[in-house]
């Protein structure tokens, strides 16, 4: 923590080495977050870039209350949401209407074992609306009320969207798991 404080102070002094160190320390984790909200690595890097610029511009507002990583994470999430709203290719897909065609029916109870990357890839394949709500609730831990406020939707919509996103993901995971099992069996 002390090390972190010193790092922040050095960054505030405008020292390039400290800024680079801060970036190196958090860039990997933050790119993972950005990646989950976007559809391509380039977009994720754009968000990461914008996010870090914001981090350095607003670092003086960080009051050392809570972890620095959590503070940066919040900035990254907000930046990602702004990015989705700003870019038309996401905006058209960022509808929170009910889409029953996507509702999977989960019948299998098979155990699913996947890597973080695989799960992230599946999350990114969700429609943007589902993807965003799933990330905000399941990963970031925001309540549906908070999500509703952030996205300008009702908490009920957030809840239903989340439930559908989860069902969809679970079905995809099971399908992938079965494919994997078949591949292993084939060997």
């Amino acid at each position: 923590m002390t090390d972190e404080r010193q790092l922040v102070r050095n960054c505030l002094k405008g020292r390039p080495d400290a800024q680079k160190e801060l970036y190196d320390r958090f860039a990997g984790l933050m790119l993972g977050i950005c990646y989950r909200y976007t559809k391509s690595l380039t977009d994720a890097e754009d968000v990461l870039q914008d996010g870090f610029v914001k981090v350095f511009r607003h670092l003086h507002t960080y009051k050392f209350e809570g972890e620095l990583g959590a503070w940066i994470r919040r900035i990254m999430v907000t930046t990602a949401l702004n990015f989705l709203k700003k870019h038309s290719r996401y905006r058209t897909d960022l509808s929170f209407d009910n889409n029953d065609a996507l509702h999977p029916v989960i019948e299998s109870d098979a155990e699913v074992k996947m890597t973080a990357r695989e799960v992230a890839e599946l999350v990114r394949q969700l429609p943007t609306g589902y993807q965003t709500i799933f990330n905000l609730h399941a990963v970031e831990g925001f309540s549906h009320v908070e999500i509703g406020q952030m996205l300008g939707i009702s908490d009920g919509t957030s809840r239903s969207q989340y439930a559908r996103a989860r069902q969809l993901l679970m079905s995809w995971m099971e399908t992938q798991s079965m494919i994997k099992t078949d591949q292993y069996a084939g060997k």
């Binding site: 970036y23 993972g32 990646y35 690595l41 511009r57 973080a116 990330n135 990963v139």
Partner: protein, 505 residues
């Protein structure tokens, strides 16, 4: 239960999910941080320069006034020694006679002394005031302050008479300060030097000066020193027998007004345009042309191009072109070496860029601000050249500072100021990164903006001919050109030669 486990599992997995960003992210972050810092520093320096210029201008203005006053006092003292031999002339207070000495005169305050103030014989070492002494033959005549509107005030009459120049071999009339009025009486039989004092200013002489016959003028009383020389011409009896050398404030005001008159003229400048990235940068950057090897093929969205460090969007290079401005200006001196000018001109800026094939078909471009439909568009590429054109109505407000004395040669002037601009029209294309195409959208630009202008010029003012000046200029649009689909280089700037010519001398 199963769903809760799923949530928990996903959260754990995602919480540790990391990806290694590509190498070009950090340099770009660093560039943006530094750029913002640079912009802040520049804004700070501009503000500081503006404040300093304003302060310097004010100081010059005040200083020039003080210098004039000091000169007047000195002149009064030096000329007072010649009072004894002062020759009164009937036209002594005529405008033409005053012309010669008005450089040193600033009789701005109006004299409010009563018209009944009289002339009294005063020894040189002691001057006194005597009020309301009736005019009687043989006594000193009444002196009327120039601006007192009375029927008998001779000044009111003499001012209307034709001007005659004061003889060159005669001493100049005594100059006065701050409304002080010095008058001499004509045809006075009294051999003692007479003096008329108007109650406000006073003529004083210290012991050293008294010996030399030097009298200085202070503000509390107006001295009116009369010459008793018999050669003085007598005044016509029907007018008055008093001639005053008091400087008519009207003439002084006219002179001052002439000096501060607005100079109007034509202004023209021509040079180069450069679109910059928000910082004031020089010209001559190597990145003049859009290089095809950096251009991603149209419609390509492959990971190779998206992840390639070679990827360069077409809107990430500075653009160049021509620029010219033409208009009118009005300039007014604010001090000895300072002036302020306001103007209005039309500004033209262009920028060239390479584009691909032209497509004469309608297409909708999806932007963050909404969809834009364009009837035609260009693909990205290097097959064609396109010249973007921007037409501005500009209102330069400049502060001019003369850097040299310009006694023999031309005056070197440095100018700085701000220029509100209004985009009157445009014929330009906008690059859309998503589609990698160029389209036209007149709503994509900021209509109103602000520019900083600076320049250096030589001013030539030959006699009897209109003044003209020539030099260099640089302007930088602080506000951005495009508000939608903003490119990396989004601030117009231009550099070139400027020429100004006043309408008449």
């Amino acid at each position: 239960m199963r769903e809760n486990e799923f949530d928990k599992g996903v959260k754990e997995l995602m919480g540790e999910f990391r990806l290694q960003p590509s190498a070009q992210v950090w340099p770009e972050v660093e560039r943006r941080i530094r750029e913002r810092k640079r912009r802040r520093i520049l804004i700070f320096w501009f503000l500081l320069a503006g404040v300093l210029l304003g302060a310097a201008g004010t100081w010059w203005y005040i200083q020039s006034g003080e210098t004039t006053d000091r000169k007047i006092s000195t002149t009064v003292i030096s000329q007072q020694s010649g009072i004894d031999s002062f020759r009164q002339h009937e036209n002594i207070n005529r405008p033409a006679a005053i012309e010669k000495s008005t450089d040193l005169i600033s009789a701005e305050k109006k004299i409010t002394a009563p018209a009944t103030t009289t002339v009294q014989s005063v020894p040189a070492e002691k001057l006194a005031v005597s009020k309301a002494i009736p005019k009687t033959p043989g006594s000193s005549p009444v002196v009327y302050p120039a601006d007192i509107n009375t029927v008998n005030n001779p000044l009111n009459k003499t001012q209307k008479q034709p001007t005659r120049k004061y003889p060159a071999n005669k001493p100049k009339p005594v100059s006065v300060t701050d409304g002080a009025s010095i008058a001499t009486t004509a045809s006075l039989p009294n051999p003692v030097m007479p003096a008329v004092l108007i109650p406000q200013p006073v003529v004083t002489a210290d012991s050293a000066d008294r010996n030399r016959g030097v009298v200085s003028v202070s503000q509390s009383m107006v001295p009116v020193v009369a010459n008793t020389d018999s050669q003085l011409t007598a005044k016509p009896a029907n007018v008055t027998d008093t001639v005053s050398t008091a400087v008519p404030p009207v003439a002084t005001k006219n002179k001052k007004a002439a000096a501060r008159k607005w100079e109007t003229g034509l202004a023209f400048s021509a040079g180069f345009t450069r679109l910059t990235s928000g910082s004031i940068a020089g010209f001559g950057n190597a990145e003049k042309n859009f290089d095809a090897m950096y251009a991603s093929p149209v419609g390509t969205n492959s990971s190779f191009y998206n992840n390639s460090p070679l990827i360069r969007y077409a809107d990430t290079i500075p653009l160049y072109g021509w620029a010219w401005q033409a208009g009118v200006y009005a300039k007014r001196k604010t001090g000895k070496r300072t002036a302020f000018s306001a103007g209005m001109n039309i500004g033209f800026y262009s920028s060239w860029q390479t584009v691909g094939a032209f497509k004469d078909s309608s297409r909708i471009f999806r932007l963050a601000q909404g969809n834009v439909e364009s009837n035609s568009y260009y693909l990205s590429g290097t097959e064609n050249k396109y010249s973007n054109r921007y037409y501005y109505l500009q209102f330069p407000l400049l502060f001019h500072w003369q850097l040299n004395k310009a006694r023999k040669g031309p005056a070197l002037q440095w100018e700085n100021g701000l220029m509100p601009v209004w985009l009157a029209g445009s014929r330009a294309i906008i690059y859309d990164r998503n589609d990698r195409m160029y389209y036209t959208d007149k709503k994509a630009y900021n209509r109103l903006g602000l520019a900083f202008q600076t320049g250096m010029s030589f001013r030539f003012a030959p006699q009897h001919k209109p003044a003209w000046s020539a030099g260099i200029y640089y302007n930088f649009h602080i506000s951005q050109l495009q508000k939608m689909n903003q490119p990396a280089y989004n601030n117009l700037s231009s550099f070139g030669l400027q020429l100004r010519r006043s309408f008449k001398k």
